[in-house]
Symmetry: C2
Amino acid sequence: MGRRSEILQRATEVFERKGVTQTSLEDIAREVGIKREAIYYYFKGRHDILLEIIVPSSRELLTGIEDILKSNVPGNEKLMNAIRSHVNAYNPRYLEMSVALREDHLFSDDKKFEELRDIWQRYGDMWCKLVEDGQATGAFRADLDAKLVSYAILGMCNWLSRWFDPEKHQSLEEITDTYFKLTFEGMQPRA
Amino acid sequence: MGRRSEILQRATEVFERKGVTQTSLEDIAREVGIKREAIYYYFKGRHDILLEIIVPSSRELLTGIEDILKSNVPGNEKLMNAIRSHVNAYNPRYLEMSVALREDHLFSDDKKFEELRDIWQRYGDMWCKLVEDGQATGAFRADLDAKLVSYAILGMCNWLSRWFDPEKHQSLEEITDTYFKLTFEGMQPRA
């Protein structure tokens, strides 16, 4: 692994373990086993490292749901695919996703975070569109507010970052299946 | 408002705005308009202030769901009541709940946080029991993993702390109603 990738890898681990705001460049350097100053050869600072970790997986989620929306399958399959795409983002990038979903960087005034916030905003909008489209075509019931429904499902999927442990828990495929059945069919006993 | 309550109130606002780890005693003192040292007359430190803010609303959620579990109503009503209890916790204590759900304190080694973690653990267990009981009585379908289902609903309700703005969004009653219908009946078109 090159030095640059090693910095990113170690930084992800420290961010995940200590939280972003509590991680200093010093901490990252210590994990890599280099001096703080040596990091500046590769990165301008902590925020640049953080963004390089979380922007790609966030951007992938966005292009993923854009492709799903364009695909020619019924609404319920789109729902299933969008849940799968989100849930699968935890593997193998569990750490990256967890760090991306930490709210620390939401408090930052750093303009650099604008791209990230914009990606997540657009991702939420796409989810809302998925629900609205399904309501328009009759794939989903139309009496529920599309925004509330999409935020609910996003919350369900995002909250995984707070409890899911790839070593301990169910497979992501089982989680996808359960979340799909829960949101599409509900907990009501099946006829 | 007494000085002590004023400290708690201002601290809640700063914690919510800046994040817990980025808030110093100095910041809190400045908001109240007193010296940092004066806070020590009321509190031992930042963590004590934080816990006094978030433990009561967390404990209320726990006793709330315990009462719901003991109540003599069908499973779907228990589900509705448990969602309502959680969603309503955002009003009027929106700030307290948001701060409680921040993950900052999960990284803390401070033993003082054990009580809080224990409350949330038990709260999650009660949710799981609510689903299991409903599955046992036939109120809910039994083919979904109770833990996954309860964590999904908790995620949905907890994620409110990240997007809900009491000034801008739907009423909590509408959110409760939508979350109940989504999880009990699902998005499938109604017959």
